[in-house]
Symmetry: D3
Subunit: 132 residues, 6 copies
């Protein structure tokens, strides 16, 4: 059960429909996933988030698949079930192989483990890491 209603295209305001149309055109699919339909309760939040996603996830110094892998890693750390599913699907749509997913998972597991070990030991940061 959600804490907000999902806004269908037929029930949406002109402002929300315009963003739905942009999502569809940008992604070349009619499918609008639940995240956007839930966000649409606040059109300003919907617009801010969609514009942010478009800007941040665009190809740049990092390729779009690498960005999805990073997104999955953050979503796992935050225990966001929906986000793990949607970004794993997005990564596969962008060409993630099962070998890449297995290595992503191995890095995620290792990082959580060493993060916890470091935190338990309260290790001081080495001077060598200072960029100064």
């Amino acid at each position: 059960m959600a804490t907000v209603n999902l806004i269908e295209y037929a029930d949406a305001s002109a402002e929300v429909r315009a963003i739905y149309d942009d999502i569809r055109a940008f992604r070349k699919t009619d499918f609008i996933n639940n995240f956007w339909r839930a966000l649409a309760n606040d059109p300003a939040q919907l617009r801010r988030t969609w514009e942010g996603i478009k800007a941040v996830m665009a190809p740049g110094a990092l390729d779009p698949l690498t960005k999805e892998l990073i997104y999955i890693a953050v979503s796992v750390a935050n225990s966001c079930e929906y986000c793990i599913h949607s970004h794993t699907a997005a990564a596969r749509a962008k060409g993630m192989t099962e070998e890449q997913f297995a290595e992503l998972m191995a890095v995620i597991g290792m990082a959580h483990s060493t993060n916890a070990l470091v935190t338990t030991m309260q290790v001081a940061v080495d001077d060598e890491y200072n960029r100064g």
Copy 2:
């Protein structure tokens, strides 16, 4: 202040020295960072962690720099100051540009934001994400 002592090479057992030697040879540097010197209080943990890191961070279906970016993302989510510094330094040593770091940061920020929005709205996972 740390919760454990740091083990210097001169004070280390033969078992620990052998791992320190392997770290130095593998990384082609004499520098042993504090993480390993703290872990060395438990030689079995030191060996298990070092062998794990070598296996997981090796080039494979994902390149070593991509793995460091994922490591940074996890370390940020876990607020591990030491890990953020050591893996940002490692990423730079592996060629991370400032443009790549800026994009990594943008993805990390965006992911934390949408993770929190999804969690607040308790959005149901779309059937379309089912691999079945």
Copy 3:
């Protein structure tokens, strides 16, 4: 599935029944939500938690609705599905409008984003924030 059983009024000890009665009287409803019925496996924990909630959530320098909004923000950060649902329901019962919920969500999303940006950059705390 839960890791503990839920204790129904009919099966409860006199000590637990007295707390259930107080919850009902205090909240002016017969409804006892699952949290309390689960906590009742440990009557001391049930009492400590209920007394704490009554003291902390009472009107004071902050009004009860503001306290519920803060409770939702913490529950989101902790990914506590049950808590998000129960405290969102409580906030609505205390008068939270959809506009307020949308603004709460916007602040939560923004805060998670800038928290992550700050943590990635390891920004030093400005001297100006020192109260000294």
Copy 4:
């Protein structure tokens, strides 16, 4: 130590200076805190974040102080030292009394406690919380 350099006004590009100027004018102070000076390494991120903050933290259905209290609660959950200091200072500047801060803290402590209790017991969400 930070993982990025701080950009001073004197060294900033015209694009960054324009945002610094807007921050100063909007806040009616010459002080630019380290967060913005660190973000300025990526002018697009600086602009996106500042525009987001201005929109989200503006007076609306929730007053600015309530928004700061929510921001503090999220920052505590994320262990973001810098954010806790900067938003506690901002809350005090917006009139937060010590009584309000004490009650904020009490709610934060209670919420973390019951979040953890619920999660340990894996309590099912009551049907009564369904808005349907």
Copy 5:
């Protein structure tokens, strides 16, 4: 829904079958829980994790039940539903009483509460805790 398939014994490679056989022999049960069947998509990860678990959870300076209680506490902090269920079941199988579970839960709740209070107040570490 999972993001990976579960590997059944009948469909598993010889390498995976050998690990499944070791899990069964070590635990004296035919039951292989879903975690291992999901991990088996990456035989190297399966082996590394199983060998790690065997080494870490073995009787030593801490008894196996104490280790399970610690595992539950971490899993709660990480909101890992599966892990909470599997390790609570494991703890009960190793003799955890309901009184012990209630006390575990009380400590978990208290620790989350005081962690959050300390973090809000940004209390400096007392010199007395320095081992130096």
Copy 6:
């Protein structure tokens, strides 16, 4: 730097002094650590927390050292530097050996790793874990 002042005995109210006296008598030491001196800004919170700690950390179905180990594990997951130091010191004062600390750390590291692996794979909870 802290966000609140520390309350010294000489400056404390009679109510706060009485709690300080109880802490000293209960722990058989004059030392009052910073946590309590910071909490004393809100005498009700000070009392509620101290009474809770006394009740929860008392010997019971779990011994006091086991409770401290659990407290450390939670504090690590929450990245609470102060709490890690104070509870590691408390555990050592209650007899924790270096071997026990090493095993605690190994379990903490392993649990964070498998928590993250499970969460990435979104593994369904086995029916066998249902107590029903």
